[in-house]
Amino acid sequence: MKRVLGISAYLAVKEIWRNRARFLLVSLVIALITLLVLFIAALGEGLGNGNREYISKLDAQLIAYQAKSDFLISASRLDRDRLASIRRVAGVQDVGMLGTANANIILPGGGEPLKAALLGIEPGHVGEPPIVQGRPLSTKLADEVIIDRSTALRSGLQVGDPLRIRVTQGTRDEFYELRVVGISDGQQYALQPSIFVPFFTWEQVRPKSEAEVNSGNDPVGNVILIKVKDPAQAESVSQRISAQVNNIEIATVAAAIQALPGYSAQQSTLNTQGGFTLFIGLLVIGGFFQIQILQKVAQIGVLKAIGTTNTIVAATFVIQISLVTLIGVAIGGLLSFLFSLTFPPTVPIVFNGTTSAIAIAALLLIGPLGGLVSIRYAVRIEPLKALGLSI
């Protein structure tokens, strides 16, 4: 076995080295495919992240929706009575109302307003994002706002700055002035950067229809975020809430993410694209090595005629294909990394360790897979070809 590997590695490396230009070319093609696959994966991660970031980072296990809302946050309406009812259920540690809406942030320097998710949360309760700079919302002052990292990056706003938003209420555009008290980590929601205001402020400043402007109804949020005492018991707490509070439906956070509008469809589209790119890579590598082998029939015939075993012939190919793929993926990975440094924060591209690792593993596999046909072909070459005799 050691002898086989020794000879195979020797032949494989010698051939690659003495034809390095040609093999490098294939490695570069693989590098480009790697770049493409990694970027599609990063785009999937970026878009997915932009969609789910706030929800996935929640310190909650369950989310309560209005019954029959199909787990669509924007379609769900829940009042504060329900908030109180859920809080009383045994096993619930904390609850927070969440109101979602959109707002345009008027940038201090002028220019196009920044579209952001306007999220109303309960200060000090589940739903308020962790602060990395400044302080959390206080419960007393209504004009406070936390902006997430992506809002800060795109707007240039800092702690202490005034923040003006424009919303449409009824038929009029209204402007509200808030004050940035804290900056959270990235908390994008619905592919937008987020800003967080106290729930009652949210009720004031959110976009409203004409009817809503005129009615004096109690404030209504979209969903209720629920933190349970023991996450392992989330399931039974969920059942208790369903039994004790009427007219709601409950999802786990994971299920809530899958139910985000367009989330699953988008992820599967990008996964399909990534899969197709891998498939093209498979064909490219397969094609290259097949052409290589067709040119080397006589050579392989000589090798076999002088007593080289099929195992050595096959192992040589496997080593070559693996090396060429490895080098290509390494170059592609490096290029992806360098490119990613140049992207502005507005581009939804996120290189996530796990996703990239899966993509790289898939890329490393396509080499040997693409070469399978050629290896089979090489093994079947008759040593008689060395004598110009064919069977």
Binding site: R3, I7, Y10, L11, K14, E15, W17, R18, N19, A298, Q299, G301, V302, L303, K304, A305, I306, G307, T308, T309, I312, P383, L384, A386, L387, G388, L389
Partner: protein, 245 residues
């Protein structure tokens, strides 16, 4: 049954091919013996079965019937794995073309034979260099084969065919791609080494002038062995009969 005085011996070799036009008798009842230190030429017109016979001697092709004894061992009964090992250990080859691996240097091509046999060490490497020097390639050891002329490549192939001390050395048209001057040189050196190292050598050629350096000429026609030239005089007569072609 065992006869150890011959390096290679065949008994009534028959090879038939089935084709659309009926059965082709490529080799028809050929029996031959070659002793150590003996260099034999296999000649005959095109299609007479020389390459087929050589392939059978090389354990590359199984005869339809008959037996082949290499160092007294019957190789016609061997499994494919055993044949591969046999070719690696006991047989040396030169082919008409595409002999060498283009991505190895001259000396690496020769050493490959030792490498395959797990016998490459300092001494082996030195022997490979000496052998190439004997063949006039002392200055070309580290050239890739693409940088060598056809004759130089044939000489590298000859070194490769001899380096691992095989019992049997086979050459298919070793001079086909060479001009006359080079061809003489190559075959003369080849013959010298076979005699000196005491190998059994068989060379297929259709250039009768090359028979000047062999000890015996076997002539084939239509798959049959039709004539044997044993002594110097009759061999030289054969050589001169075609020298003017």
């Amino acid at each position: 049954m065992k006869n150890t005085s011959y390096s290679i011996e065949t008994r009534s070799i028959i090879k038939t091919y089935q084709s659309d036009f009926g059965v082709i008798q490529a080799v028809d009842d050929v029996s031959l013996q070659v002793s150590p230190g003996e260099f034999v030429a296999l000649v005959g017109p095109s299609g007479s079965g020389k390459t087929t016979m050589l392939s059978i001697l090389a354990a590359l092709l199984k005869p339809t019937s008959g037996s082949i004894l290499l160092d007294g061992q019957d190789i016609s009964a061997m499994s494919e794995t055993e044949r591969v090992a046999l070719r690696r250990e006991k047989i040396g080859f030169t082919f008409q073309a595409n002999n060498l691996l283009p991505y190895l240097t001259a000396v690496e091509n020769v050493e490959l034979m030792l490498r395959l046999n797990n016998k490459l060490d300092k001494a082996g490497s030195l022997r490979a260099q000496e052998l190439l020097a004997r063949l006039g390639l002392g200055q070309r050891l580290n050239n890739l084969t693409g940088q060598l002329s056809g004759g130089q490549q044939q000489r590298v192939a000859i070194a490769r065919a001899l380096i691992h001390n095989p019992s049997l050395v086979l050459a298919d048209e070793p001079t086909a791609s060479l001009d006359t001057e080079r061809a003489y040189q190559v075959v003369e050196t080849f013959a010298g080494l076979i005699h000196e190292q005491n190998r059994a050598g068989i060379m297929v050629t259709h250039d009768l002038r090359m028979c000047e350096f062999v000890d015996r000429v076997l002539q084939m026609r239509d798959g049959k062995l039709v004539a044997t030239y044993n002594d110097r005089k009759s061999i030289m007569k054969l050589v001169n009969s075609r020298a003017g072609d």
